[in-house]
C-alpha cells in the first residue's frame, strides 16, 4: 500500500505543484487532508464518519490485462450462440408484432404512437431498410408467417447487439475485479443463459436497451480507471462514450433512466472525492464538474432531442397515432384531415363537429350506445373522452329550440350563445344533472339524454370563447371554448381519469362546479363540416419543436401509466423474476407447433440468486474486518476492496434496475428483469472468483490452488451442461409437452409454473 500512496501523491504533485509545504502542514491535522495516511490515524476518524471509505486508491499492482484469446473466445461463442438458428421460427414471435410493425412504420414514414421513446424502433427500421426489408409486411399478430419478407436483417441486428453483452460483461468485471477468471465466469454465465439468448434473437427493444446499458456501464468503469490522468484524450473519450450510451439507453426505453441514475450516483461520488482532495484547486474541481456536466448531461440531452427530431422528421404521414395528439400537432402530418385543412372558418349552427379537450393527450368528446351501469349516477348514455378518431366523436350544433331544419345561410355561433349538442350517431343530447360523476365525486355526471334531439332544459350549454367578448364568433381549431351548463352553472370537464371496464377504459367526462380556467375544461373544435358554408384553407399555427417534444413525452408517460394489468391477463410480479418463477411464451402453444419459451437457464439464475446472498455475507465480513482494522495481508485487503467497491457498483446497478419495479403500477413482464440480471451475473462472477481465491483462508497453499481450479472447472462445466439440457428453450422445441415422456424437455420441468 505504501508504495502506491507514494505513486499517487507524486502524481498529484505533478498537477498541483503550487501547494506549498506550509499549507499542507496546516491541513494535515484535519481528517480530509489525511486521505493517504489512514493507517495511523484511523482511530480519530472512526468516530467522525466514513471518510476513510471514499479516499483510497484501489489500483493494485496485480491488475491483469485483458487476455486476447479469452476475449476472442467470448466474442466467438456469444455470436455463435446468438446467431444459431436465428431465422427460426419464420413467423412473428411475441412482441415482434409491435416492434416489427413500428420498424415498418419508419420505412413507410407513417406516424404512430408508442409508449417508448423512438430510438430503438428507428434502429430496427434502419436495420430492416439496410437489409432490404421494404416495410410491406403487416405484422398483424404473432404466428403470422413472414414468407418472402426479409425479416432476418432486423433479427440479426438485434442479435448482434445482444452478442456484445457478454463481451461488455467481460470487460466490466475485469475492470472491477482485476481478475480474468472472474470476468470469464461472468461472460460464461451470460453466453450460456437461455434467456439472454432468446431475448437477443428477435425483433425486440430489449437487446438494444441492454446494449446501451452495458455500454454505459463499461464506459463509466473505463472512465473511472482514467482517474489519474484527467483531461487526457482517453479520459474524454470514455466520458463522452458514457454520455452517448446513456442517451441511447433512455432513447430506447424509459428504463434507461435507471442506468442514468447509476452513472449519476457514481459521478456524484467521484466529484465529492475530487472536492475533498485539497491538492486540487477549486478551479480544477470546477473544470471537472463542467466536463461532466457537458459529457453526461448536455451531450446526452442533445442526442436524445436529436433522436426525437429525427423521429418527427421521418414520420410525416398521418397514421394510427394521430388521435393521441393535439390538433396543432396533427396538422403537421400529411394525410391527416387537418394537414392543409380547409373547412368553414367560423362555427355555425347545423354543423357537424368534433370537440377535442385541450389537456395534453386529451380526448375527443365521445358517446356511444352504452349506458352508465347501475349505481353510477343516472342510468343514461355514457359520455366519455376518447383518444381515437371515430364516428362516435361527431356532434351536431343546434340552437336550443330549433328542429332539424336550418335556414339557407347558416347562422354563426357566437360567444355567450346557448347551444345544444346532439350526438350524431345516437341522436342524444349532451346532458348534465345534479348526480355524482363516476370517478370525480365532486363533479356532476355528464350523459347523453333524449332521443332525436329532443330532451329537456338540462341539455343546454352556454358556449364561451376564452378571452372572448359577447358576439365574438368561434374560430374553428384556434378558439379555446368552454361549455357552461345552463341549469347548474358547471363547466364541461375532462378529468383524465380512466373509467373502469364498463366505460371501455375511456376517459371520464364530467361537469365541474369549479369554474377555474384549466386545459381540462377548455376544448377546441377540430373537425367542422357544414356543406352550406364555404371551406377556407386554414394555416393552423405550426407547433414549435419543443412543444411537440413536450407533448409527445406527456402522451408517452400517460400511455405508460395507462398500461394497467387487466383481470384476465397474467400479471408477472417482481418477486417472480429472480427465482425464475415463470417465463414467457414467445411462440407456439401446442404439441405440433415450434415452441420457444423465454426462460433463463435455471442453473445460472439460481446461482445468481444464491450469489446475491453470498455477496451480502462476504461484503459484511469484509467491511467489518476493515472497520475493526483486523490485521490482513495485502492480497486479502485487495479482495475486500474489490468486493466493496466493484461489487458495490454492481449491486447498486442491480438494485436500481430491479427495485423500482415494485413501485410501478403498470403491467409488468418477466423480460423486465433482464437488465438487472446482467448486473446480477456480473456480480456472481466477481463474488465466486473472490470466494475461490480466498480458499487459502482455511487450506494450505497447494490444496487451495487445487480447490480454486476445481471450483472454476466445476462452475464452467455446470453452466455448460445446464445450457446443453435447456437449450431447446431457445432454439425451439417440437413434439410433446414437457410433462409427457418423450419430450425433449422431459424431466426438466423443475417448477410447475414453467409452461413448456
Amino acid at each position: 500500500m505504501a508504495k502506491d500512496e507514494e505513486d499517487l501523491t507524486a502524481l498529484r504533485q505533478r498537477k498541483t505543484c503550487l501547494i506549498s509545504e506550509n499549507k499542507r502542514t496546516l491541513h494535515t491535522p484535519l481528517p480530509e487532508a489525511k486521505s493517504n495516511r489512514l493507517e495511523n490515524e484511523d482511530d480519530k476518524q472512526a468516530s467522525n464518519g466514513t471518510s476513510c471509505w471514499t479516499e483510497r486508491s484501489i489500483t493494485p499492482p496485480g491488475a491483469q490485462p485483458p487476455n486476447t484469446i479469452l476475449v476472442l473466445l467470448v466474442l466467438g461463442l456469444s455470436f455463435a450462440t446468438r446467431f444459431y438458428k436465428l431465422a427460426e421460427p419464420p413467423h412473428i414471435c411475441w412482441d415482434e408484432t409491435h416492434f416489427g410493425k413500428m420498424g415498418s412504420y419508419y420505412i413507410n414514414r407513417t406516424f404512430f404512437f408508442d409508449v417508448h421513446p423512438p430510438l430503438g424502433k428507428i434502429l430496427i427500421g434502419l436495420a430492416g431498410y439496410m437489409t432490404g426489408y421494404d416495410g410491406t409486411f403487416p405484422f398483424v399478430k404473432p404466428g403470422d408467417k413472414y414468407g418472402h419478407h426479409n425479416y432476418w436483417g432486423m433479427r440479426g441486428f438485434c442479435a448482434a447487439l445482444g452478442s456484445s453483452l457478454p463481451v461488455f460483461a467481460y470487460f466490466i468485471v475485469l475492470e472491477l475485479s482485476h481478475s480474468n477468471s472472474a470476468a470469464l465466469i461472468a461472460a460464461a454465465l451470460l453466453i450460456f443463459d437461455t434467456g439472454s439468448i432468446t431475448i437477443s434473437q428477435y425483433i425486440l427493444l430489449d437487446p438494444i436497451l441492454m446494449f446501451f446499458i452495458m455500454g454505459a456501464v463499461l464506459s463509466m468503469v473505463k472512465f473511472n480507471q482514467q482517474k489519474s490522468r484527467p483531461f487526457c484524450a482517453s479520459w474524454w473519450l470514455w466520458l463522452l462514450l458514457t454520455g452517448v450510451n446513456l442517451s441511447g439507453a433512455i432513447g430506447v426505453k424509459f428504463v434507461g433512466l435507471f442506468v442514468i441514475l447509476l452513472v449519476g450516483l457514481n459521478t456524484a461520488g467521484d466529484l465529492w472525492a475530487l472536492l475533498g482532495d485539497l491538492q486540487l484547486s477549486l478551479v480544477d474541481v470546477a473544470k471537472h464538474l463542467l466536463a461532466r456536466v457537458t459529457g453526461l448531461i448536455l451531450l446526452p440531452l442533445l442526442l436524445y432531442v436529436t433522436v426525437f427530431a429525427v423521429h418527427f422528421a421521418v414520420l410525416n404521414k398521418s397514421g394510427p397515432g394521430d388521435g393521441f395528439f393535439s390538433s396543432a400537432f396533427q396538422s403537421r402530418l400529411i394525410g391527416n384531415n387537418l394537414h392543409n385543412a380547409s373547412m368553414p372558418k367560423y362555427l355555425a349552427y347545423g354543423s357537424t363537429i368534433t370537440v377535442k379537450n385541450l389537456r395534453i393527450a386529451g380526448g375527443y368528446l365521445h358517446s356511444h350506445w352504452h349506458l352508465y351501469p347501475e349505481g353510477v349516477g343516472a342510468k343514461q348514455q355514457q359520455v366519455t373522452a376518447y383518444l381515437h378518431k371515430d364516428y362516435n366523436n361527431l356532434w351536431l350544433v343546434h340552437k336550443p329550440d330549433d328542429g332539424q331544419d336550418h335556414p339557407k345561410t347558416p347562422e354563426l355561433v357566437r360567444h355567450g350563445d346557448i347551444v345544444r349538442l346532439e350526438h350524431k350517431e345516437t341522436t342524444r343530447n349532451l346532458h348534465s344533472h345534479l348526480q355524482e360523476a363516476p370517478m370525480t365525486r365532486k363533479h356532476f355526471q355528464v350523459t347523453g339524454y333524449g332521443i332525436n334531439g329532443s330532451g329537456d332544459s338540462n341539455d343546454l350549454w352556454r358556449l364561451e370563447v376564452c378571452g372572448g367578448r359577447r358576439g365574438d364568433p368561434v374560430k374553428v381549431l384556434r378558439s379555446k371554448v368552454r361549455f357552461l351548463h345552463v341549469a347548474t352553472g358547471c363547466v364541461l370537464y375532462s378529468s383524465g381519469k380512466t373509467l373502469p371496464k364498463w366505460g371501455w377504459e375511456q376517459v371520464e367526462v364530467t361537469c365541474s362546479p369549479y369554474l377555474k380556467e384549466t386545459p381540462n375544461s377548455q376544448w377546441n373544435i377540430e373537425d367542422h363540416i357544414n356543406p352550406k358554408l364555404p371551406n377556407i384553407s386554414l394555416s393552423v399555427l405550426k407547433p414549435h419543436f419543443l412543444e411537440i417534444l413536450l407533448e409527445s413525452h406527456i402522451v408517452m408517460i400517460r400511455g405508460n401509466s395507462g398500461l394497467k394489468p387487466k383481470d384476465s391477463e397474467i400479471n408477472s410480479r417482481p418477486w417472480h423474476w429472480p427465482i425464475n418463477y415463470q417465463g414467457l411464451r414467445f411462440s407456439g402453444v401446442n404439441e405440433t407447433e415450434y415452441r420457444v419459451y423465454l426462460l433463463g437457464n435455471p442453473v445460472t439464475w439460481w446461482l445468481n440468486l444464491a450469489c446475491l446472498g453470498l455477496y451480502a455475507v462476504m461484503v459484511a465480513v469484509a467491511s467489518i474486518a476493515l472497520q475493526r482494522d483486523v490485521h490482513l495481508s495485502q492480497k486479502r485487503r485487495e479482495h475486500c476492496w474489490v468486493l466493496i467497491r466493484g461489487g458495490g457498483q454492481l449491486v447498486l446497478g442491480w438494485i436500481l434496475h430491479y427495485a423500482p419495479f415494485y413501485a410501478m403500477g403498470r403491467i409488468l413482464y418477466y423480460h423486465h428483469y433482464f437488465p438487472a440480471m446482467l448486473f446480477s451475473s456480473m456480480l456472481t462472477g466477481l463474488t465466486l472468483d473472490t470466494l475461490l481465491h480466498s480458499a487459502d483462508l482455511f487450506l494450505s497453499p497447494p490444496r487451495a490452488d487445487w480447490l480454486l481450479r476445481l471450483g472454476q472447472v466445476a462452475l464452467l462445466f455446470s453452466v455448460l451442461y445446464s445450457f446443453y439440457i435447456f437449450h431447446p428453450l431457445s432454439y425451439g422445441m417440437r413434439g410433446p409437452l414437457a410433462h409427457e415422456p418423450g419430450s425433449a424437455m422431459a424431466g426438466l420441468k423443475w417448477m410447475d409454473s414453467w409452461e413448456f
Binding site: N48, L275, L278, R441, S568, Q627, G665, S753
Partner: protein
C-alpha cells in the same frame, strides 16, 4: 447537556432519581424542572379542556367508532386501514368510560346519547396528544439543544391548532405522534447515556414505542426504519472503535439487534394476539376469511360446521366454496335453468344446465361425491375417504345432473371451457364428467380430502382443465351469478382454481326424494377444526394488506403537495343549527415558519458540507454533530413521514401530514438557536435575534388564539368573523345564511 440557562427558575434536565448510596434511612432526592411541568400542564389543559364538547360524532369518529363498538361486543372484523393496536387503544378508553358498544355510528354529526361517556372515548388520544408537548421538550434536550430551544419546541407543539384538533377526538394520529416522539426521545436517551446497563431500558422503551407506532398505523414503519438506520450508523461507529474489545462489541451489537429488531416484531405479533383473543365472535367480515379461520370464531360458520365429519368420502354431501381472493365468498351452484342457445354476441352454447358460483347459502349449493365405478350415493360403513389423485363425479343434489365440462367456449370468458350440468340432448355431445381431485396443500395437511382445511383443485380428466371461478358475472339469463369455467392449469397455484368443502355430511338416503329432504335439513355432528394462532395471524395480516380499499374521492381529500402550504382544510363538525364548527386547520404562522426553517436548514447544511469538504471549519466539531443530529431527526422524520404518501394510492387527507409536520416543527427552534449561537455576532445582533424569536412566538400565539374558535368549536362566530378567518382562499369555511 449544553450551557445552563441563566434564568432564575430552577431548570434541570429531566427528573433525576438518585439513590444516595446505601445509608439508612434511604433518601430519595428529586429535582423537578418547573418549566417542563408548566408546559405539561398547559398541554393537558389545551387538549383536555371541555373534552366532551361537542356531544356529537366528529368526522372520522364515525369510522373508528364502529370498530370500538365491535370490540365492546367482541365481534371479529377486518380493517384494512391499519393494524389493530390503534383501535384497541381507542376501545380501551371506551371500555374505561363504560361504553357498551350500542351506538349506530351512521353519520357525522349524530348526537351521542346522554348516557354515553364521550369523555372516555376521547380521553386516551387526548392524553397522548398532551404528552407530546413535554416529549418535544425532552427530545429537543436530548438532541443537544438548550432549554430555550426545548421550550420553544414544546410551545410550538402546544399552540398548533391542527394537533389540538386531532388530539381531542377519537382519532389515531395523536397516538401515532406520541409513539414516534417517544421512540426518538428514548433512543437518544439511550445513546447519550453513559455506559451503564440501565441505559438498555431506554432502548427497550424506544423499541416498544416503535412497535406501538407501527401497530397504530402502517406509516409508523417508516419512522421505525429511520430509527433503525440511525441505530445502525451508531453501531457501525461502535464497531470501528478499536479500543473496545471484540467481545464487548459483539455483545453490544447482539443486544441492540434483539432490542431493536426482535422485540418490536414480537410486540407487533402480540397486539394481534390480543386482537384475536378479544374478538372471538363471528361478525360482518367473516366471509373475507378462509373457512378454517371462520370456524375458529364463535357463531357464524362454526355453528354450522360444528360436528361435521372431517374426511370427505364417496357419497358425501358437500358445499364447495371458492377460495378466490375476492371480497364476496361464493359456492359452486347449479339450478334448473340452461345456458341460452345463443349468446348476445352470437356464439352458441351447449344449452345444458347452468353451473355458477352463488354468493349465498342455498340448497342448490349441495353436491354429492360419487365414485364413477359404483352406482350408490350413500356413504359406506366404514366410509371410503377420497384421496389426492382420485377420480370422482360430482352430482348436483337437487337436480341430479353431473358436473360436466367440454370443449365449448364459456359464456363470458370465451377462452375457457364451459362447465355445465350434463343433459343428454342426443346431439353427439358426450358426457365428460370425470374430475380428478388435486389437493394442493397435501404436504401440509394430508393426502385425504378434509373438510375446510384441504385446498382442492378439480381437474377435468378429459381436457386437464381445472374448475375455476372466472371473475365474470353472468347477465340476466344467469341471474347475475358468478361465472364458473374450466381453464387450463396455467399456474401452479392460483386461488381462483381452489375450492374447499365447507359444509359436509355423510349421505344416507338412497332415493332422490329422501335426499332432497336430507339436503334441506341442517347439518350436524361434531369435530372442531384447529387453526393455530400463527396461521390466523398470517392470514389476517395478509388479508389486511391485500384487501383493496374502495377508491373513492372524498370532498375534503387532498394531495400531499397541498399539505406543505396548507391550502386545504377539513370541516370536522358543524353544529346542526348554529355557526359553531370545528376545522382541521393548522397554525398558519408556525406552519410557514417551519417551512422557512426547513429551507434554511437545507441551505446551511449544504453550505457547511461543501465548506467542510474543503477543510474550512465554520463551527466546532461538537456543534456540527449537533447540527447533524437535529437534521437527521427532524428533517429525516419529516421526510419518512411525508414522502411515502406520494406513492400511495388511497384517499389522502390533511391529517396524514401531521406526524411529518410534528417533526418539522421541532426543527424551527433548533435552527433559530443555531443561528443565534453561530451566525449572529455581537450583542446587538443577538438581541435582535431574541426579539424576533419572541415576536414570532407571540404571532404564533395570536394565530392560535384567533383560530381557537374553529379548533374548539366554541364560541360560535358570526358569518363575518368566519369570513375574516378565511386566510387562504382555498379553505372551505361554512356559514349559514341568515
Amino acid at each position: 447537556m449544553s450551557k445552563e440557562p441563566t434564568s432564575s427558575i430552577l431548570l434541570q434536565a429531566g427528573t433525576m432519581l438518585g439513590l444516595s448510596s446505601l445509608k439508612f434511612p434511604p433518601v430519595v432526592k428529586t429535582e423537578i424542572n418547573l418549566v417542563l411541568v408548566l408546559v405539561t400542564v398547559l398541554g393537558f389543559w389545551t387538549r383536555l379542556r371541555n373534552l366532551s364538547y361537542p356531544r356529537a360524532v366528529v368526522f372520522d369518529e364515525v369510522y373508528y367508532g364502529q370498530f370500538v363498538s365491535l370490540y365492546m361486543k367482541r365481534v371479529f372484523f377486518v380493517d384494512e386501514s391499519g393494524p389493530p393496536l390503534g383501535h384497541m387503544i381507542l376501545a380501551f378508553g371506551a371500555y374505561l368510560g363504560g361504553f357498551d358498544g350500542n351506538f349506530p355510528w351512521n353519520r357525522i354529526g349524530a348526537e351521542y346519547p346522554s348516557s354515553m361517556s364521550v369523555w372516555g372515548l376521547r380521553l386516551l388520544p387526548a392524553v397522548c396528544g398532551a404528552l407530546c408537548v413535554p416529549l418535544a421538550y425532552l427530545l429537543q434536550l436530548e438532541l443537544g439543544s438548550s432549554h430555550y430551544a426545548a421550550l420553544g419546541a414544546s410551545l410550538l407543539i402546544l399552540m398548533e391548532n391542527s394537533l389540538i384538533v386531532q388530539s381531542r377526538f377519537m382519532l389515531l394520529e395523536s397516538v401515532l405522534i406520541f409513539f414516534q416522539l417517544l421512540s426518538f426521545f428514548s433512543y437518544w436517551r439511550f445513546y447519550n447515556a453513559s455506559n451503564s446497563c440501565s441505559r438498555y431500558l431506554w432502548l427497550i422503551v424506544a423499541a416498544s414505542s416503535c412497535a406501538g407506532a407501527v401497530g397504530v398505523k402502517y406509516v409508523g414503519v417508516f419512522t421505525y426504519l429511520l430509527l433503525l438506520g440511525i441505530a445502525s450508523v451508531h453501531t457501525w461507529q461502535l464497531i470501528g472503535q478499536r479500543a473496545v474489545s471484540h467481545l464487548r462489541v459483539f455483545v453490544e451489537c447482539g443486544c441492540r439487534a434483539v432490542c431493536l429488531v426482535v422485540l418490536p416484531v414480537l410486540l407487533y405479533v402480540l397486539c394481534f394476539y390480543v386482537h384475536l383473543t378479544v374478538l372471538r365472535h363471528s361478525g360482518p367480515h367473516d366471509q373475507l376469511m378462509s373457512s378454517a379461520f371462520q370456524a375458529s370464531l364463535e357463531g357464524g360458520l362454526s355453528r354450522i360446521t360444528r360436528g361435521q365429519p372431517l374426511e370427505v368420502a364417496y357419497g358425501s354431501q358437500v358445499t364447495l366454496r371458492s377460495s378466490a381472493s375476492q371480497t364476496i365468498p361464493c359456492w359452486l351452484h347449479s339450478h334448473k335453468a340452461n345456458y341460452p342457445i345463443r349468446y348476445e354476441d352470437g356464439r352458441g352454447s351447449s344449452h345444458q344446465q347452468q353451473v355458477t358460483c352463488y354468493p349465498f347459502k342455498d340448497v342448490n349449493n349441495w353436491w354429492i361425491i360419487k365414485d364413477p365405478g359404483r352406482q350408490e350415493l350413500v356413504v359406506n360403513t366404514p366410509p371410503r375417504p377420497v384421496r389426492h389423485g382420485d377420480v370422482i363425479q360430482l352430482l348436483h343434489g337437487m337436480t341430479s345432473r353431473f358436473l360436466n365440462s367440454h370443449d365449448v367456449a364459456a359464456p363470458m370468458s370465451p377462452h375457457a371451457q364451459e362447465v355445465s350440468g350434463y343433459i343428454d340432448f342426443n346431439v353427439s355431445m358426450v358426457m365428460q364428467n370425470l374430475w380428478r381431485v388435486d389437493i394442493s396443500n397435501r404436504e401440509a395437511e394430508s393426502e385425504v380430502w378434509k373438510t375446510i382445511v384441504s385446498d382442492v383443485r378439480l381437474v377435468h380428466v378429459n381436457t386437464s382443465a381445472a374448475l375455476k371461478l372466472s371473475g365474470g358475472t353472468l347477465p340476466e339469463w344467469g341471474f347475475g351469478q358468478l361465472e364458473v369455467v374450466a381453464d387450463r392449469v396455467s399456474r401452479a397455484h392460483h386461488s381462483s382454481l381452489v375450492w374447499n368443502v365447507e359444509e359436509h355430511r355423510y349421505g344416507t338416503s338412497h332415493e332422490q326424494k329422501e335426499r332432497e329432504v336430507e339436503l334441506h335439513s341442517p347439518t350436524h355432528i361434531d369435530v372442531h377444526p384447529n387453526i393455530s394462532f400463527l396461521s390466523k395471524f398470517i392470514e389476517l395480516q395478509r388479508k389486511m394488506l391485500t384487501v383493496k380499499q374502495e377508491e373513492s374521492e372524498h370532498k375534503y381529500s387532498s394531495c400531499p403537495l397541498e399539505w406543505i402550504s396548507m391550502t386545504t382544510n377539513i370541516v370536522y363538525w358543524l353544529h346542526h343549527s348554529t355557526n359553531a364548527q370545528i376545522h382541521l386547520i393548522g397554525n398558519l404562522v408556525s406552519w410557514s415558519m417551519a417551512n422557512l426553517s426547513l429551507a434554511a436548514y437545507q441551505l446551511l447544511a449544504l453550505w457547511y458540507l461543501l465548506r467542510r469538504r474543503r477543510a474550512i471549519r465554520d463551527i466546532t466539531e461538537a456543534s456540527w454533530c449537533q447540527f447533524q443530529r437535529v437534521g437527521v431527526v427532524c428533517v429525516g422524520g419529516w421526510l419518512v413521514n411525508f414522502l411515502p404518501f406520494f406513492l400511495m394510492e388511497n384517499t389522502l387527507f390533511l391529517y396524514h401530514y401531521l406526524p411529518a409536520y410534528t417533526f418539522l416543527l421541532q426543527l424551527l427552534p433548533a435552527v433559530l438557536e443555531h443561528a443565534h449561537t453561530h451566525l449572529l455576532s455581537g450583542k446587538s445582533q443577538h438581541r435582535a435575534g431574541c426579539v424576533s424569536a419572541f415576536a414570532g412566538l407571540c404571532s404564533v400565539y395570536l394565530c392560535y388564539k384567533s383560530f381557537s374558535p374553529l379548533t374548539y368549536g366554541s364560541p360560535e362566530l358570526s358569518a363575518n368573523q368566519l369570513q375574516a378567518l378565511r386566510w387562504q382562499p382555498s379553505w372551505d369555511i361554512l356559514y349559514r345564511r341568515p
